[in-house]
């Protein structure tokens, strides 16, 4: 019975979605896609698709690493602003303001060209084990994206920490929990649940800022598209495909994160 009802329900929803004008629009869109596939030149694809996959993998990798590291930094930054004394809160606030007040591209170039030009002047840096890494571009890209994510997310976490009802914390203290335990068991989880919807948006924003690392010669999917354009003198095809790839990644990301969001208890606080 239940399965039958579910089938009827989905069928009804499908018919609700498939109104006549939608069918026409979908047909038009299909026509556009097919004509693009037919009239434009795609014969460069076999040559580059391996490189493209590599680029997608690298972009996703950068996204995952910077989000994870950025979130780890964002928690203390948010906590410092929400609960710390003025000596901790003020630097955290300044950090957030500076990161959010300047373009990411500028931060990236400042780190890569600015710091990168400074390091070779000191022999002890050149001799140290870090030098092989510092000569490459990707550490700067990861660092800049991490800091940017931490800056934006720190502000979100501040709001989330401040939004946890006082009664919860007082109850935890009444149970005799230590401060560290309160943070781990009560404060952080509840703040995290509160921040999760915003976190989804921030992650998508972060995905959209990963192509910036291509400007400092990290080969991600954006750089691959640029290379294709240079090699084949095609203007639109690589960019259109690139836009499609990003849309697909965004869609998958949003779907996955909303799954996680749906799993957490709705009633918080």
């Amino acid at each position: 019975m239940a399965g039958e009802a579910a089938i009827i329900n989905t069928a009804a929803r499908a018919s609700l979605w498939l109104q006549p004008h939608r069918i026409v629009l979908v047909l038009i869109a299909l026509g556009l896609v097919l004509s693009a596939a037919y009239f434009m030149r795609w014969n460069w694809l076999p040559q580059y698709w391996e490189m493209g996959l590599m680029g997608i993998w690298r972009a996703l990798w950068i996204l995952a690493v910077t989000c994870a590291l950025g979130f780890l930094i964002a928690v203390p930054v948010g906590l410092a602003q929400a609960a710390g004394s003025i000596w901790v809160a003020a630097p955290a606030k300044v950090f957030c303001t500076i990161i959010r007040g300047t373009p990411l591209l500028l931060q990236l170039w400042l780190l890569y060209y600015g710091l990168g030009s400074l390091f070779p002047q000191y022999p002890w840096i050149r001799d140290s084990w870090m030098w092989p890494y510092l000569r490459q571009a990707w550490p700067y890209g990861v660092l800049a994206l991490t800091l940017s994510f931490a800056g934006y997310e720190g502000e979100v976490m501040r709001g989330a920490f401040a939004g946890v009802p006082k009664g919860q914390l007082e109850a935890a203290r009444a149970f005799g929990m230590s401060r560290w335990k309160i943070l781990r068991r009560i404060w952080l989880p509840q703040a995290f649940y509160r921040a999760l919807p915003t976190l989804t948006g921030e992650t998508v924003l972060q995905l959209k800022s990963t192509p910036l690392v291509a400007t400092i010669s990290v080969i991600d999917i954006f750089a691959v598209a640029g290379k294709v354009r240079q090699d084949t003198y095609l203007t639109y095809e690589p960019l259109l495909l690139l836009a499609l790839i990003y849309m697909a990644i965004t869609g998958i990301l949003v779907l996955a994160l909303s799954r996680i969001e749906a799993r957490i208890p709705v009633k918080v606080g």
């Binding site: 600015g114 959209k208 910036l212 965004t250």
Partner: protein, 221 residues
């Protein structure tokens, strides 16, 4: 300094274009027919899902090329579209998608009775928009729009990638010539920060002005 001026010009222009698209888009999404609504949904989804950098590249090259092709097809001379106009149009197009969503939310936040009352007075749709909807939604829309303005100032930096001469590119060139990379980038950062802080101050004032006569947020909680 010329770079900063160019950046600000583009940011202002793009915000104005974006606002215009936003108002039209929000109206279309709320009151338009099914086809208009679906098309606008596609527009906002696509623009918000694709990175700005990719969109800028795509529209910057494709847009100028398309206009020139259309013009030659009709029989006019090719026009040389200046980077300024192209930049404003491209960023405005991106901003439009975001501000459509902001405005839609803001219009929905207006108490329905106000709009119904205006209709009952026999106001024409244009008058209704000008006298009731826009002023009434302003307090709800300003925080979102303020964010958009800040994003716009920072997005202008992306135009450096397509070779438009604004603050970031100017900084890069100056730094390249003088080899004093760190100083120039720091200075540019300070300039951007000053713009942000200054507009934060102004927008805070504007929000207070738009909210006048309404219960304050703190009291409502």
């Amino acid at each position: 300094m010329l770079g900063l001026l160019h950046s600000l010009e583009i940011a202002v222009g793009a915000t104005i274009v974006g606002l215009f698209i936003g108002i039209c888009g929000a109206y279309g999404k709320l009151y338009g027919g099914p086809v208009v609504r679906d098309l606008l949904a596609v527009y906002t989804t696509v623009v918000r899902a694709v990175p700005e950098l990719v969109l800028i590249l795509l529209l910057y090259y494709a847009g100028t090329d398309l206009i020139n092709q259309v013009l030659t097809a009709i029989g006019y001379q090719r026009v040389d579209i200046s980077g300024l106009v192209a930049g404003i149009a491209v960023l405005g197009f991106c901003q439009g998608a975001y501000s459509t969503e902001v405005m839609r939310g803001a219009i929905l936040a207006i108490p329905q009775g106000q709009i119904e009352a205006a209709r009952a007075f026999g106001m024409s749709p244009g008058l209704l928009l000008r006298r009731i909807t826009l002023p009434a939604m302003l307090p709800f829309a300003i925080p979102g729009l303020a964010n958009l303005w800040l994003i716009a100032t920072k997005d202008t930096a992306l135009l450096a990638v397509v070779g438009f001469f604004e603050l970031t590119l100017a900084t890069r060139q100056a730094a390249g010539v003088t080899k004093a990379y760190l100083i120039f980038y720091l200075a540019a950062g300070v300039l951007y920060l000053a713009v942000t802080l200054f507009s934060n101050f102004l927008l805070g004032r504007a929000e207070k002005w738009a909210r006048r006569g309404m219960p304050s947020v703190k009291e409502a909680r």
